[in-house]
């Protein structure tokens, strides 16, 4: 069964901490994406990567960075967490040229 795995289901971090959210896929997909999901706002694209070591900003990249050193792993980094980054974070992947994304189960991050 193909999978996108997010390392943590729930996280609580303090304001100012550096936070790493990890995502691993086992489908050999080239493209990977990070979204955040908030009530009333839906899914918003933070960053995406079309291949190893490549990254592009999405619609709301401010306050975030990403790392893609290996094809199967895409990390989202909050350099200095703030309370407005409290959200559900969803990772997704897809094969190049295909429309269907496969999602991870999400990480619910609370910044206090």
């Amino acid at each position: 069964d193909v999978k996108v795995t997010q390392s943590s289901r729930y996280l609580v971090k303090r304001t100012g901490e550096k936070v790493f959210l990890e995502c691993v896929q086992d489908m050999d997909h080239e493209n990977m994406f990070w979204y955040r999901q908030d009530p009333g706002l839906g899914l918003r694209l933070i960053y995406f990567s079309y291949d190893v070591k490549m990254k592009e900003k999405g619609d709301i990249p401010e306050g975030y960075s990403v790392s893609r050193e290996k094809k199967e792993r895409f990390s989202l980094i909050l350099e200095s967490a703030s309370t407005n980054q409290t959200s559900m974070y969803l990772c997704a992947s897809r094969r190049t040229g295909r429309s269907i994304y496969t999602f991870g189960s999400g990480t619910r991050l609370t910044v206090v």
Binding site: G42, L43, L45, E56, S99, Y101, S105
Partner: protein, 114 residues
């Protein structure tokens, strides 16, 4: 900027009812429209639509696309409590670059009461 609008934003029905969820879009270089179901965790894929007028069907769920009027509907007949979820509509288009990506609507929260 690509835009996807879903309606209604929330809906409460009784088991056995039929529901219709709506999705309209504006996107550059439309490629496909996708429906996902999201319960407590990962959105799971339901349908992908690329051609107008061709209904996709899976059990009690069906969906159709109108590329002229730029909308899609998702129908659920004989609803069950297990259909309670957020239904997401997403459109694949090419905007501001050479690669296609999905733009999501805000979702419709469906609650089916016994």
């Amino acid at each position: 900027e690509d835009k996807v609008v879903q309606s209604p934003l929330s809906l409460v029905v009784h088991e056995g009812d039929t529901v219709t969820l709506n999705c309209s879009y504006e996107v550059t270089n439309f490629r496909s429209l996708l429906w996902y179901k999201q319960e407590k965790k990962a959105p799971t894929f339901l349908f992908m639509l690329t051609s107008s007028g061709i209904e996709k069907k899976s059990g009690r769920l069906s969906s159709i696309l109108d590329k002229k009027e730029l909308f899609s509907i998702l129908n659920i007949t004989a609803t069950q409590t297990g259909d309670s979820a957020v239904y997401l509509c997403a459109v694949s288009g090419q905007s501001g670059g050479s690669n296609y990506k999905l733009t999501f609507g805000k979702g419709t929260l469906l609650t089916v009461n016994p």
